[in-house]
């Protein structure tokens, strides 16, 4: 298990803070509007298909490089999810002399590319990008995410943290009974080839061949407690994500987690441990352990609900032990930290306390020191 700290894009003090307090990586929070608008401008520019292939090859190489600090750790970063790196890490030298940092190539100048660049330039692995301000209309949400997935892939961003449209992160939604009835069908969508026609979006070949019920069932294992339109939205983007090698990380609570038992390409879960009652104590058959073994969970977020993790009712040590026993090797992070006395708007004192706490938890489990 490793620790990620949530930081805001454009706030460099938070990057320095993360590094000084020993975060293993950052999850950078990015407002979507600017990201989508910028990516749209780039995607609608005239692109020769041959050039597009060359760009793709270049950006894929760059993607591996920018997903970690020194290139040698790219494989290590990828293997957090237990998967092998998609491409060998190229030798990219990051000169550390001020003023001599390499400039991003024009085709990489999307907000996601700059996010990746900033993290790498600071020597911080980027665990993912958390998208804020996503459209809540399902259609607009799908369109935005398709654009962002392409941009993420080009920039080497491996994970986009994003709640489905109209879904309060971490809270169970009503209307899940229809999905629960169809959950468990072993339908898998294979990765579609990337479309050269960016305006039409990637070719959803595998999904189009599915029966509608099967389409919903294909995402039910990771999104069972959601409304139908939310599941449809995930259905539309999961193959795209899988095709470009980016995971959409969906926040779920423990109830939803309990129903996800199979990995879906392109989708992963962030288990939000909030103030919802924890339910029965974890045991050998506990669904959390099952999810870990099924490789559905890529991040666990402990949300103290306005309290420091040290003083919350989350039973963090208990859940951390459960995760460790199941072999979990993903990320841990704290939720929004509480505001302590006379603090800045991003609550760094609370964030520091929570990060120190989680570091102690990880070290106590023998998961290593920074």
């Amino acid at each position: 298990m490793r620790l990620a700290l949530t930081v805001r894009y454009g706030y460099d003090e938070e990057l320095i803070f993360a590094q000084q307090l020993g975060a293993d990586a950052v999850i950078m929070r990015l407002p979507v509007e600017a990201a989508v608008a910028s990516a749209e401008l780039l995607s609608t520019a005239a692109v020769d298909p041959a050039e597009s292939v060359a760009m793709q090859a270049t950006s894929t190489t760059a993607a591996v490089q920018t997903d970690s600090t020194p290139p040698a750790t790219a494989a290590q970063t990828d293997q957090v999810d237990g998967r092998e790196p998609s491409a060998p890490a190229a030798a990219l030298h990051w000169p550390l002399v001020a003023g001599s940092m390499p400039s991003p190539a024009p085709q990489d100048s999307t907000p996601l590319a700059t996010v990746a660049y900033r993290a790498a330039a600071c020597g911080l692995p980027l665990a993912g990008v958390e998208l804020t301000g996503m459209p809540q209309d399902a259609g607009a949400w799908i369109d935005a995410l398709r654009i962002l997935l392409d941009s993420a892939a080009a920039a080497g961003v491996r994970r986009l943290f994003c709640a489905p449209p109209g879904c309060t992160p971490g809270a169970p939604e009503s209307g899940a009974s229809n999905l629960a009835a169809t959950a468990g069908a072993p339908v898998r969508s294979t990765a579609p080839s990337r479309s050269r026609d960016r305006t039409a979006g990637p070719d959803p070949v595998p999904v189009m061949n599915m029966h509608p019920a099967a389409m919903l069932a294909s995402v039910a294992p990771v999104a069972p407690v959601m409304g139908e339109h939310q599941a449809e939205a995930l259905t539309a983007v999961a193959p795209v994500a899988a095709g470009v090698g980016v995971d959409i990380v969906v926040p779920v609570d423990r109830t939803a987690l309990g129903r996800a038992d199979k990995a879906v390409p392109g989708l992963r879960l962030e288990w939000v441990v909030g103030t919802q009652p924890g339910g029965p104590e974890a045991g050998p058959a506990d669904p959390i352990a099952q999810q870990v073994r099924a490789d559905t969970v890529t991040c666990v977020r402990f949300d103290g609900g306005g309290r420091l993790l040290t003083d919350s009712s989350l039973k963090v040590p208990h859940w951390a032990m459960t995760l460790a026993a199941a072999g979990y090797r993903g990320w841990l992070r704290a939720g929004t930290p509480p505001r302590l006395t006379e603090d800045d708007d991003w609550n760094p004192k609370g964030a520091a306390a929570d990060l120190g706490y989680l570091r102690a938890v990880v070290q106590s489990l023998g998961a290593g020191r920074p």
Binding site: F17, G22, L308, T310, L340, T341, D344, A352, S364
Partner: protein
Amino acid sequence: MCRRISGSIERRGYIMKIALFASDSPDSMAWVQTLGLRHVVSGMPGAVDGVVPRQALEERRDRFAAHGLEWGVIENLTPSLYDEIMFGLPGRERQLDAVCRTIENVGAAGIPVLQYQWMLLGGLRTEYSPTGRGGARYPRFDAAVAARMPAACLDWLGRGRHRYPHVPDGPLSAVQVWENLEWFLQRVVPVAESAGVKLAAHPDDAPVRDYMGVARILVDEEALQRLVDCVPSPCNGIGFCMGTVATMAGVDTLHAIRRFGTQNKIFFAHFRNPRGQVPRFDEVFPDEGDIDMVAAVRAWNEVGFDGVIRIDHCPGVVGDAPAADRSFAFQVGYLRGLVQMQEVLGCDWR
């Protein structure tokens, strides 16, 4: 704490009291409370004719109590109240009398532990290196650097002529310094016993054997053992600074915790984790120093330490206020996390 009883292990909750250094200002007390702590360490109120008044101690104690905070340790007995004793100067008898009155007042105010130090030249640091993790500023001691600028390295440089600490007027051997310490303890420990106050000696930081020709004596385990043996008493013990002990050449901190903890000679502790030992060390974040802090917390519980452990110095973090709140918050979270994990994991994990 785990105790073995007839082959089984009895588990109890951890009993040490995590504290921060605080003043009795509303902001300081609110800060301690915000971090979920209930114990404080605080300095000594001002002395009047060399004696710290009982009323001043009680008033401060009451202000803490009104905010739900327990004042468990005075850190430190003000060195200028006994510097002539440390140096063996003619005024030591006068200072001794005043110190004894102060100890009585501390006891009357119900504060159980009084820490003091026997560093004739105070603490030593050579620089605050900005080369820590992410550019954090680490306090550093480097004997080679100190040799080039010894006066500038007196960390707590006194103000004005001959205010403690100051550049010495002459050399002082270890024999002489020990004589002065034993003279002091032989006279104040009985007073402390009567007053119900535990005297906790902080080892010499940095633990080098001499500086500017003046010996520094509490610099290794044997010295600490001599300290507690020279005047045997339940009121004569150690302010166990993990950071200072860890920087003693050749000393294993966990061994020292167990050695003196099992003797019930640790009255107070500092939580700090340096990297390196004399002649050069850095004060780094507690999760990246040389001490295995998980094992250390376990050791504290094994010896049944039920005293106050205070978060000690910390590196400078970006954007931090002069009080280093962000850095302290990190350390408080870290220590509380270690304790909570040990409570759940018990004795047999790792």
